[in-house]
Symmetry: C2
C-alpha cells in the first residue's frame, strides 16, 4: 500500500456505549462525542439503540444521512466484508455495540479482526466496561485475571468449570470473572455459596455506573448469611482468595 | 452500621489517569474532573505525578490544602489502614495511580480490598486501560481472555508459561494478554516468533491513546518478516488463533 493510498483509507473507531440511561458525560470523554459527529458510516449491534445513542451524543446529528450496517449474532460471515468497503472509499467507520465496549463480550470483534487482516487502522476509544470496573472495585488481583463470559449451562460441565476456576485462583492467583443473565443472578450466588469453600471471596458488582450501583466483596461464608436481590440488574461476578 | 453512620462515611473513588501527555478530555469523562476537585484526601502511587495530574484536571486546585498518602511497592502493609481513616471522618478519598486504572496491574488493589473489608463504598471511574483497549483493537476473542502481567523471567518457566498460553488459546479459545518492559519489547517479539506456531496471531498494541499509537495484528509468520521497533513505547501483547 502506498502512502498516498494510506492517507485515503478510512479508520475504524470503536465507540463504547453507556451501560445505562444516565448522563453520558459521566462515562464518556467529550472527545468521543466530538469524533462521532463526523462519522457517517456505522456498524452497529442494534440500529434502534445506536440511533438513540447518537441522538444522546448530539441532538443535531441528522440520523437519516447516516449508513448503518447491522452486525449481531444473526449476521452471516459473508456479509461482513462489505461493511468495510466505505473505509476503502476514504470514509471512517464507527462501531457501536448495545452497551459497553465494542468487541468485548460482543460481536464487534469479527469486524475488527477483518479490518486488521485488511490493514485498516483500528482506534479503540475510552468508555465504561463492567468487567474492568468490577475488577477495580473488587480489591482482587489486577495483575492476573481472566474473564470467561457465561458459565456453562450443563450442570456437570459447570461444576467442572468452577473447580478449574478455584484451581487457577489458588495456583496462579488469577482473579476469575464471569457474568450471568440477570434473572439467574440470585440462583448463581446460591450455587456459588454451596459449591465454593467458605473462605473464598466473591465480589458481586451490579448496575455499574447506574443509579443502583453496588460493588460488594464478601467471603462465601458471609454471602451465605447476606440478604440480596440482583434479579433485575446487570451484574458481574468475581472470585478470589 | 446504622443508616446515620452510613451517610457520614466517605467513599473511595478510583480515578484512572491518562497513559501519556495528551489532552485529558480525550481519555477521561468530564465527570471525573468535576468530582476530583471536591476531594481533599488522596492515596497515590507517586505524589509528584499525582500533583501533576491534579493540576492538569484543574489549574485552580490548591494542592497545598490536600492530604496525600503514598501507596506503592515499598508501602508496609501495616501503614495502609490509616489511609482509610479519613473515610470514617466523612471524607471521600481518591485513589490515583501512575497511569491507567487504579488497582489494575498496580498497588491500588490493596487499599480497595481493605475498604471492602471495612464496608466503605468503592466507586470505580471510567478511564483508559491499555489492556482493554488493546483487546478491543486486536480483533481477538473478547468473550474469554486472560491478562497475566509480565511473563516469568526465568527461561524454562517462561517457555512453560508460553506453552500453557498456547494450550488455553487452543482448548479454551481464551485470548492471552501480557506486558513487558519497553526496552525488552523487541526481544520479546523475536522470542515469540521463534517459540510460537507460525499460524498463531500476535497483536502488538503500542502507545495506546498516544501520538504513536499502533495496534497491529499479524500471524507469527508475518511478524517474522516485519520491521518493527517498540523499544521506547509502552506496549501490550495479545495472542490468539
Amino acid at each position: 500500500m502506498t502512502d498516498q493510498q494510506k492517507t485515503h483509507t478510512g479508520k475504524i473507531f470503536l465507540f463504547p456505549v453507556p451501560l445505562n440511561d444516565g448522563d453520558i458525560n459521566a462515562v464518556l470523554p467529550s472527545y468521543n462525542i466530538a469524533l462521532i459527529k463526523n462519522i457517517k458510516v456505522f456498524v452497529v449491534e442494534n440500529i434502534r439503540s445506536a440511533r438513540r445513542f447518537l441522538k444522546k451524543c448530539d441532538r443535531t446529528i441528522d440520523i437519516d444521512t447516516l449508513t448503518f450496517f447491522t452486525l449481531n449474532e444473526h449476521t452471516l460471515q459473508q456479509d461482513i466484508p462489505q461493511m468495510l468497503e466505505p473505509a476503502f472509499e476514504g470514509k471512517d467507520i464507527g462501531v457501536i455495540s448495545e452497551a459497553g465496549c465494542p468487541a468485548i463480550a460482543d460481536p464487534g470483534a469479527d469486524i475488527v479482526a477483518l479490518a486488521q487482516r485488511k490493514g485498516i487502522e483500528v482506534i479503540p476509544l475510552v468508555g465504561p466496561s463492567s468487567i474492568l470496573m468490577g475488577l477495580m472495585g473488587s480489591g482482587f488481583n489486577g495483575q492476573s485475571f481472566a474473564f470467561a463470559g457465561y458459565l456453562p449451562v450443563d450442570a456437570s460441565t459447570r461444576a467442572a468449570r468452577l473447580k478449574e476456576m478455584e484451581r487457577r485462583i489458588n495456583r496462579e492467583h488469577q482473579t476469575q470473572i464471569f457474568i450471568e443473565t440477570p434473572y439467574r443472578n440470585n440462583r448463581l450466588i446460591q450455587e456459588l455459596c454451596t459449591s465454593l469453600p467458605s473462605s473464598m471471596l466473591l465480589c458481586v458488582a451490579s448496575d455499574i455506573t447506574g443509579a443502583k450501583q453496588s460493588i460488594i466483596t464478601r467471603s462465601i461464608a458471609d454471602w451465605k448469611k447476606a440478604a440480596f436481590d440482583y434479579s433485575h440488574t446487570p451484574t458481574i461476578f468475581l472470585l478470589f482468595n
